[in-house]
Symmetry: C2
Subunit: 348 residues, 2 copies
């Protein structure tokens, strides 16, 4: 973990304990980043900050900025923006108040904290850090594809937003629970706040996609696993380039295919159907073999949140049988079957 | 053509007639951009500027900056940098002198003209334009993959630097010579200076690769062809993400596969062999079908500069027979056979 920033920007310390800023969210999606932290790192969160008419909660004590500081909070986490990616004036006011109360501020917003002069001035006068998780925070090299030591797993998907981050974090928890070493490697803004480190690969210059992934999962000699958070899908016409660069940079020994079985079309593109699961599995293996000819698909992770329990179990059974792989919902059912298969297939 | 710049930076007019700046090049590669302009747009070039000990020439009259201005030159073209991408002090001095003589300056250098305070000051005091062709010069949207009107061809390759730009420009020349409409769409810095417009797709933020290609080849209703310059290779571990985004953004009706038959390994990566031609052809078609299910491979372009003429002809014959496609060296032999096949396969 590295809660200090790289050499390009975003300098200064930040990290947990966190105050989760909910503000006045438009909907549940607007607190996605805070929810990810609450779910995966509850022990890092001391409280939540809500406006009086906010009906959403993450179950932490409500507190203002000074109370959070008194409870030991280091940084406030600002999550998803309002529609259009614009920061609401109220959010700006709150961020400044948090800085004035002595909190650092970390953000997964599209709009950069550092691009707002008032916020920057407040950070300066309080000697506080601003961290924009959507901005690559280190100097990158282009990928070189050279074989490096260590074991790596990458989550891939039929689409965007099908549970790749949750699956990867569930694998980390399960492998660690077995007494083995494993580290989540973050490639998106929520993952970066959960891990305390990482590179938002969809925000790097196109020439550096695979190089960024090589940088976050370097050679590893301790026998542990690097579990790399996937992004997008080879079958998403908007973002497939990012997904292919991830596959090549990861040099994955193992892939896990993530899918949302009720999804009607590719996210944001009603004119594109989801790929067939077998076709998607094969395409990912073929592409991944360029940098690791021994790559294997070790499991399928379904996000069944939209299904009744019986339907969810049936979906896992059907898809698992069809693909000949363990298939499970990581959140509802755990990932033990996938980890069993991973360790049987790929351990040194 | 658009010799005015977009809304983000690089504002102001630039364009031909050009003075080609050779300076004191380390080798032939150091004048690659100027050579491309000299070869494809000789009528846009009024002269070349060399230091006394420069032995390379592009065959244009030697002139200083004031002479070039007197001959009607609008802009000076600065090509490839010295090793390490650093601009030599001598180059900086020359650029400032060119600006003082009244020339605009356009550059394909990695290092940005706009990042040098002396150069920026010289441009300001002379009211001249600086244009960095490696910098995306417009605001981009993510790709949407929606079917758009028009005919599009994309060059793809077994590797980087195998002749994709030359092939695309040769196709433009041949199709236009037949009285049909065709426009080269540039995706790299040399191509952008040749076309007077374009986006360097390897320099955009990763999320916007396919969107950038959609932007440079928008819906077209006049029956003409957009001929899109490819970049990289699906089989290059450093850059394949860029190539896949290009394939998806292009929605190509036709692909031309480019190859350098003497290449021993992937460019810059001695540990990676070149892909098999059949495998490369198939992989590009499979990926391209996501956004255009009717895509066809219409020809193979070989860069045979390193072969004797008899060997070059034999290589074209062998590969053409093996792939069942017209195969030719665009520079040495022209592209008529490929254009015949293109028009037979894909014309409306």
């Amino acid at each position: 973990m590295n809660f200090n920033n790289g050499d390009l920007a975003n300098t200064g310390h930040w990290g947990p304990p966190y105050l989760l800023y909910l503000g006045r969210p438009a909907d549940a999606l607007a607190i996605k980043t805070a929810r990810g932290l609450a779910y995966w790192r509850p022990d890092w969160c001391v409280g939540q900050h809500r406006h009086p008419d906010c009906r959403l909660t993450l179950g932490f004590p409500d507190m203002d900025f000074a109370q959070a500081r008194a409870k030991g909070a280091d940084s406030m986490v600002v999550g998803t923006a309002n529609a259009g990616g614009v920061m609401a004036p109220e959010t700006i006011t709150d961020i400044i108040a948090a800085l004035d109360a002595g909190l650092n501020v970390v953000s997964g917003l599209h709009q950069k904290l550092r691009d707002n002069a008032q916020i920057v001035a407040a950070a300066r006068r309080n000697g506080r850090t601003l961290f924009d998780a959507r901005e690559p925070n280190r100097r990158l090299a282009v990928g070189n594809g050279r074989k490096r030591a260590g074991l790596r797993l990458l989550t891939v998907g039929t689409d965007c937003s099908v549970g790749k981050m949750y699956t990867t974090l569930a694998l980390e928890r399960s492998i660690r629970a077995r007494g083995l070493k494993a580290d989540f490697r973050a490639t998106g803004q929520t993952g970066i706040l959960v891990a305390g480190d990482g590179i938002p690969v969809d925000a790097v210059i196109a020439d550096f996609i695979s190089g960024a992934v090589e940088a976050i999962s370097p050679a590893r000699e301790d026998g542990g696993w690097d579990l790399i958070e996937g992004q997008g899908s080879l079958f998403h016409p908007s973002y497939a380039g990012v997904s292919l660069g991830l596959l090549h940079g990861a040099q994955a020994d193992a892939l896990v295919l993530c899918h949302e079985p009720t999804r009607q079309h590719m996210r944001g593109l009603p004119h594109y159907p989801l790929p067939d699961l077998v076709q998607c599995l094969e395409a990912n293996l073929v592409a991944a073999r360029l940098t690791n000819p021994n790559v294997k698909m070790v499991g399928v992770a379904l996000n069944t949140a939209e299904l009744a329990q019986a339907d969810a179990l049936a979906a896992c059974r059907d898809i698992g049988d069809r693909l000949g792989l363990p298939c499970t919902d990581p959140v509802a059912m755990g990932v033990e079957a996938i980890v069993d298969n991973l360790l049987a297939c790929c351990a040194n």
